[in-house]
Symmetry: none
Subunit: 197 residues, 4 copies
DNA sequence: AATGAATGAGGCTTCATTCAT
DNA sequence: GATGAATGAAGCCTCATTCAT
């Protein structure tokens, strides 16, 4: 074989691409930008991806899948729901911090609203699943109007993602911290009711 | 002074530009698109705006100012806060519906996060003012932690705007309705507490 | 209106494009080549043609149509066929000389054999029509096997076109002259028989 | 000397390259296409050929030489010319069928008119030689104007090659058959005269 | 002021060729 | 010798902007 075996290079490329897409959006990003960031020649990008679109898609899909997977571990436990919630917040915001570029990539794409909605729907479904598990296990009370509940969830999730995506580069950590506090506050009250505590 | 017809044409141009920017984003929109929508020649755009950026900025600034202005009338009244809130929702969502393109223009621009944050901060400040007025007038209880309250407000506002911006073109009205219901639900509980009713 | 009215410029562009396509073939020709030959900027080509393909098609179609039209005047006369034939040769070779680039454009395109066959079929049909008219008017005898006759016509037409297209740039005129003489010789014998003289 | 396996691989490469060049023309063919067809890596092509041009040249030269060689056997016999002619047609069209890709490669290359003319001149010379031999042996009458005769030959040969090269992929065999019939018809008459039969 | 053709920089992508393995 | 990833020049095309009319 020639040179390195290089699925590592593909991964590296995805990672770098994600950074640039996150910074500049799809249209604002050029193949040259990405290649420069990855330290390769522009043409080499096409060794790994059919075109700019495929690279973008792979970038989002793969990152988002990892993101979602990180949430699934939370669904199984039997602990009091307040603990599950705390872990959800911890994991969610840790991931958010790690994948901020990804979230920006997802969030800021006027052209691709479907992609965007799809991704966020996936995320909401995962979170719902965590709550549903807790309800099945009796650690959380059922809600009277599931559709309304789901709508609220979506507004909140969108609010978090969008707020995070828009955070000023200089103070991302601070923003995320205050965001997390706010969300904890928002949810705490409602969950308080729902758990009947 | 420019003749009346000129300023009318400028306004028309802003309006049409807003539609296109809302549909396709900044980079996805060409001067030709806008000119065609406005029924003028591409070159004529430059009679009214220095360049594409200036047009975009004017478009957002002016539309957003109108949006904000529509909220200010709500700050002055002495009615029970539940009523003010209802009017806020009514006005807010009516405007959202009317200015969806604007919101999309604001929301989907990775390059311009500052612009975006600025606009949304303005909006949050207006809404805060409405609440503050109600608190001064005693129709709403004070909050214990204003910073946390402000953070929650921002998450919610972002959530609404982003959800609205991402609504599928075919069913915007439906989405906005369910969004409004969700928000009413979210706020109702907290306000219920806060108003002490 | 802006600048010149410019359907003249389109025609000029077609003409220059034809030269370059004729010299270098479709793939060997770049938009830059054509633009340089026409004295305009590369981007300006796209004012008149959607893309390189459209330019190529227009180039061939329009030139070929003119070519064919020049032959149609020959079909109507009642003179002895030897005279018609002479005029056909005169016109045909004059046009061939004038449109050599076009013929090269038609002839040398591996990718586009259909286009090529189509064009040449059109041409053969025109020539057949001239012969058919002469047969109807009794200035030429009928042929026993029209299909075979048509096949021969096609071989001859292809032979002429291809020979002309392949002529060395330095001595096109000489080649065409000797080609014409050869064709006259080839046809004379057969026509001699067919006319019964 | 290169090992046997090497020269076999080179030959195989030439053969496959010919197919692809014949299908897609010089510019339309990529080294990758050829390598894939030959079942080797793109880089390996450069072990056998300096560059794409050299491969193309070798491809045509070698194939064409074989083609020409197949005609030379016809020049020596003492049979009546009608028989020689029949064998010429048989061999010629059999070879044409076998080497259609080659002929297409030769025919459709606007850039390389010299190459093309050279090849076809070689071919015409071989055919002339066959006729000349027959004339020397008295099985065919001399022609009064050899230059004119040569010109006719060239038109006919070009016509055949070009018609064959342009044949629709779906019906090559049929086209060649009808082409052969046409040529037989064309030549028969003249030869009839020339042989005095 | 309005027009829209013209411009040319810049983006995406292809592909002949090289060269580390 | 073989491989195929890497390279980067070069091609097509878009589009913000200019400017002659």
């Amino acid at each position: 074989m020639a040179r390195k075996s290089d699925s590592a290079k593909r991964a590296m490329l995805v990672e770098k691409a994600l950074e640039v897409f996150g910074d500049r959006g799809f249209r604002g990003t050029t193949i040259k930008h990405i290649a420069a960031r990855a330290g390769i020649a522009p043409g080499s990008v096409y060794t790994y991806f059919k075109d700019k679109n495929a690279l973008f898609r792979s970038t989002l899909d793969e990152g988002w899948d990892d993101f979602l997977a990180s949430l699934d571990e939370l669904a199984a436990s039997r602990e009091p729901f307040a603990r599950t919630l705390e872990r959800l917040l911890a994991t969610g915001f840790a991931e958010l911090s790690k994948r901020l570029a990804l979230v920006r990539g997802i969030v800021f794409e006027a052209d691709r609203r479907d992609l965007l909605r799809g991704k966020i729907d996936e995320l909401c479904r995962r979170i719902e699943r965590i709550f549903a598990a807790a309800r099945r296990q009796g650690t959380l009370r059922p809600v009277p109007d599931p559709a309304a509940w789901r709508a609220m969830l979506r507004v909140t999730v969108n609010g978090i993602l969008f707020s995070a995506a828009a955070a000023p580069p200089g103070n991302v950590a601070g923003e995320l911290r205050s965001l997390k506090a706010a969300v904890r506050g928002m949810v705490a009250a409602r969950i308080g009711e729902e758990t009947g505590i």
